[in-house]
Amino acid sequence: MPTASLFEYVAANLDSPPLTPEEGTYGPFRPNIPIKVPLYLALSLYRRGKCRIQLPPWMTKEELKGILEEERTHPQYFQPVPQYYVEISKLLFTEARAIFGNNSELCEIYDMIEELKKVRNSKILDGLRKVSGPITVKLNHLSHAESNKIRLLFENSLNMWHQLSKNDKVWQENRLAGSDTSMTL
């Protein structure tokens, strides 16, 4: 999972010069100054008690409520959501529960994200059921986890459609070109 691109805000408790993990330099870290780091680094510092993680801006109750409302009111297309919202939310719920404040807040946000996943999932299924030929399908704003779920099935079934539709074209083209396939060796 490319967590390097998932930046979180971290309020550091440590005083340290810039850190240089594999793929970049982050820092310098000063106490109580928020700084943007990749998710894996934020979680690893959090485990050592060296920082507080701030919630991503889209993960507040109000934002999530707004996105959910929009999803429900527009069944034809998907709302823009962070590409890795499933992964980020799962990691934060399992490893950093304390950042959500009290338990009820945590439950509310968890429920809203689950609801969002269900609404989007049913939209995806409805859309997939309507496919009836080897067409190009446009699926905007699909998150990473959702596209992983449908990738294999959708790709294979589109291949199947393609095979079935091109079945006629081969011998029809040959006929038009004047040669008869049944006579070729």
Binding site: T94, L125, G133, A145, L152, S157, L164, D168, S182
Partner: protein, 193 residues
């Protein structure tokens, strides 16, 4: 779907079709049709032949293929009425591959339209049950009716959903059954044997 290198394509060609031998065939009577008393196949006779052989002979103009019963008019009407209920696994596990192959020679647009229509009807069930990770009675029932090509699509969908769920639960995916076993190479002992 069938291409030259696909295993399913090769297995699909084992399907038996009725081929009319325009010029007969000498010496292969007993092999093609064990019940035949003659050693040679007389000209104009229809014999059950595996698809791979029938296709090769038809390309040389030596036989004429007639497609299996499931593509004939009677079954077409039945499938057009309700394709979801038909059991392809038992009757014609390589329904689409064999149909496509036969159509190369029959050159019948209505056959390929029929194949597409059948797939379109069955596809809706595939999507509904294929992306649902819960395995219920109706899922098992559907699985027992699918042709080999449809089953591959169905399993691919269920597998990807199951993996996403596994990750969400925090479990590790099971490693493949073909794992490296400790090497049992014989080592040379002191005597060199």
């Amino acid at each position: 779907m069938a291409d030259y290198w696909s295993l399913e394509g090769a297995l699909a060609e084992e399907t038996v079709v009725l081929a009319c031998y325009n010029f007969g065939a000498s010496g292969v009577g007993h092999i093609l049709a064990p019940g035949l008393t003659l050693a040679d196949v007389p000209a104009g006779n229809k014999v059950d032949t595996p698809l791979w052989l029938a296709v090769a002979l038809t390309r040389r103009g030596m036989t004429t293929i007639s497609p299996p019963e499931i593509y004939q008019e009677r079954h077409r009407r039945k499938l057009n009425a309700g394709a979801e209920c038909c059991n392809f696994k038992g009757r014609s596990p390589y329904f689409y591959d064999v149909g496509n192959k036969c159509n190369e020679f029959m050159q019948d647009p209505s056959l390929s339209a029929f194949l597409s229509h059948t797939y379109a009807t069955r596809y809706r069930e595939l999507v509904s049950k294929g992306l649902n990770p819960i395995s219920g009675e109706d899922t098992l029932e559907l699985q027992s009716k699918l042709s080999v090509e449809e089953l591959a699509i169905f399993e691919a969908g269920r597998d990807s959903v199951a993996r996403v769920q596994l990750w969400a639960r925090g479990a590790r995916p099971r490693s493949s059954s073909i794992s490296a076993h400790p090497s049992r190479k014989r080592t040379l002992n002191a005597r060199g044997c």
